[in-house]
């Protein structure tokens, strides 16, 4: 089975990947790392640079887990993109990183994590960065 990881270039994203590797090793799963950047912004802080993705790829190869790194570049909602991929690969689990948000920030911008937790059909592992 496949474990999907939502990755962004932050400590939360790294924590999610680390947790997913442990999880995949324990149950013999393969990993699908997804990085999504919105196409209606000129610059997206959540976009992982190519160097970043290849470093990630190298790290995963080293850990010996079968894996794929995928970049989604179109669309405006990361939650939509990840939910679609979960359905596509029939994922066993989704791993995401959580970050602290203020209530106002959540009200104004919404929360991708919240949507994923509520709408994903598979179990969701939400990890925090240390």
């Amino acid at each position: 089975m496949t474990i999907v990881v939502g990755y962004i270039p932050t400590t939360q994203g790294e924590a999610a990947v680390t947790a997913a590797i442990t999880e995949a090793r324990a149950h013999g799963d393969s990993l699908l790392v997804v990085n999504m950047s919105r196409d209606d912004k000129l610059v997206d802080a959540h976009r992982a640079a190519s160097t970043e993705l290849s470093r990630l790829d190298a790290e995963l190869t080293e850990s010996g887990v079968p894996h794929e790194v995928r970049r989604v570049e179109h669309g405006t909602d990361p939650a939509d993109a990840i939910l679609r991929i979960i359905g596509e690969v029939d994922a066993r689990m989704l791993v995401i990183g959580l970050r602290p948000r203020t209530p106002v920030g959540k009200l104004l911008l919404g929360s991708t994590a919240q949507r994923l937790l509520l709408d994903a059909d598979c179990p969701v592992l939400a990890v925090k960065a240390h």
Binding site: S37, L42, V43, D44, R47, E73, H74
Partner: protein
């Protein structure tokens, strides 16, 4: 000496809390729109035009000048960090600036751009103080035939010299002139191109044209190209420069200023040509020419100084003769007309407080810009993360409100939409925007001077060619128009391929 007294008086007027506030608003807004690609000072000034009819002209002009200067600063940020010039004047900066950013020297590139802009802006404004009264003294004796000739040079310059294709330039100019003649003929009272619409009898308001072409046209264009991949954030530290960077930057700054100011002041100048020339000059003079193409600091310092100096130069013909040389200046001119001033050599005599306060505000605004841009560059870069739909919804809202506010006529909204479609078509077919807007604003003026000269000479066409100034102007026009033919006739010397020059007009 007299000028200096006027200028000091001008400083006295600027340093009131309200005027300082408007200068601050101007430079802040200007930097923001300069940072955002596709949104430039011309569009912003057009959007703010209807709002400023309620303001005091001096304050509104201070704000506009701040936006104009601020746009030049902000444009460099996007060029350096994103390789997407926010302003047509910053296209050249992207060549070396983005390479510097990619090799981890974004902070130095931003610093040399901001400090160079400050140096060039200050020297350029000082030159403006020196040169403007001389130009006024020269222009005050010009009659209608000479003014007509100068306006024609401006038309030909904007259409044929800038941009990639003469045919496109002249096409845009003719569209502009056509929009300009709509309305009642002021001599005979005949209706022209009104199609029996009483609403069109007063002509099409410049605000509606400018907002339609710049704002609605750009919004439609972006909406048609919304799906583009986002770029990765380039980390920017606080901009700073080391000793070597200073040593390598100060000469390009001064050379860029020397190139930029005169080009800004002549009708066919603009900021694109001097920035490009400055880049070529720096590449030739550099001690390490091999660094060019891999992030040479001289290639950022020179062009950035040149574009700010040209912004100062632009104000010389605008204030002294009433002749705009770029789109922002054209809209500032129509603002002056909107307040009932007659731009031209008499402006400085009739409105000394307005003119000198404006000039003094440039010094103040330039200093504010340095303080805003140097420490806050990373913050400005964050503006690029705003989703475009939010941005353009705001622009369309302002555009519609502004166009409606001019006359409170729903008819203007249909005009706005129609002109927005024209603006979209211009971008689609690569027609430059500048000749169009110059045609709309200067067309009626050229017509007035042309007919006045003919009236003076009793309808004799020779009345159009009066005086040496007009002769020189017509010689320049003939030279510019015939240049490709001459170039073809000369053996072995092909006109250089200009296709690589950016076609995107300063929007």
């Amino acid at each position: 000496m007299d000028n200096l007294n006027h200028l000091i008086e001008g400083f006295g007027h600027v340093l009131t809390p309200m005027n300082l506030l408007f200068a601050l608003i101007g430079v802040t807004v200007g930097t923001a729109v300069g940072v955002l690609p596709g949104i430039g000072p011309a569009m912003t000034v057009a959007l703010l035009l209807p709002i400023t009819y309620g303001l005091e002209p001096t304050q509104a002009l201070i704000m506009f000048a701040g936006i104009f200067y601020g746009g030049m600063y902000g444009g460099s940020t996007t060029s350096i960090l994103l390789n997407t010039p926010g302003e047509s004047a910053s296209v050249v900066t992207a060549l070396e600036g983005n390479k510097m950013a990619k090799s981890g020297r974004a902070a130095q590139a931003l610093a040399t751009a901001a400090i160079g802009s400050f140096v060039a802006g200050t020297i350029g404004t000082a030159l403006l103080v020196l040169v403007m009264p001389q130009v006024v003294a020269f222009a005050i004796n010009l009659g209608s035939p000479e003014l007509l000739a100068i306006l024609l040079v401006a038309f030909v310059g904007a259409s044929a010299v800038l941009g990639s294709s003469r045919v496109r330039g002249f096409a845009a100019l003719l569209v502009g002139l056509t929009i300009g003649v709509v309305g009642i003929d002021f001599v005979t009272g005949q209706q022209r191109l009104t199609f029996g619409q009483p609403m069109l009898a007063d002509g099409i308001d410049v605000v509606v044209v400018a907002v339609g072409i710049f704002a609605v046209g750009e919004a439609l264009w972006v909406a048609a190209h919304l799906r583009r991949k986002a770029a990765t954030v380039i980390p920017v530290g606080r901009p700073w420069m080391g000793r070597e960077d200073w040593a390598r930057s100060w000469k390009p700054w001064l050379r860029g200023t020397a190139l930029g100011f005169p080009f800004g002041a002549i009708p066919a100048g603009g900021a694109e040509v001097p920035t490009f020339l400055s880049y070529l000059a720096e590449r030739r003079l550099a001690k390490h020419p091999e660094e060019f193409g891999h992030g040479a600091i001289e290639g950022v310092a020179g062009p950035e100084a040149a574009n700010n100096a040209s912004a100062a130069g632009t104000l010389v013909p605008l204030l002294a003769i009433g002749l705009p040389t770029n789109a922002t200046a054209a809209i500032m001119l129509s603002a002056l007309q909107g307040w009932g001033f007659e731009p031209g050599p008499f402006l400085i005599d009739k409105q000394p407080v307005l003119v000198w306060t404006l000039v003094a505000s440039l010094f103040v605004g330039n200093t504010m810009l340095l303080l805003l841009n140097l420490p806050l560059a990373p913050t400005w870069a964050k503006l690029l993360q705003i989703p475009r739909p939010y941005l353009y919804a705001g622009i369309l809202f302002f555009a519609t409100m502004g166009a409606y506010a001019v006359n409170a006529q729903p008819f203007d909204l249909f005009l706005l939409l129609a002109l927005g479609l024209v603006g979209f078509a211009l971008r689609r077919f690569g027609l430059p925007v500048l000749p169009l807007i110059i045609g709309v604003i200067l067309g009626p003026l050229a017509e007035k001077h042309g007919r006045r000269s003919l009236q003076l000479s009793g309808g004799d066409l020779s009345g159009l060619i009066g005086g040496p100034v007009a002769w020189v102007c017509y010689a320049i026009i003939a030279g510019v128009i015939l240049w490709p033919l001459i170039g073809r006739l000369l053996p072995g010397k092909r006109p250089s391929d200009r296709d690589h020059t950016p076609t995107e007009a300063s929007a």
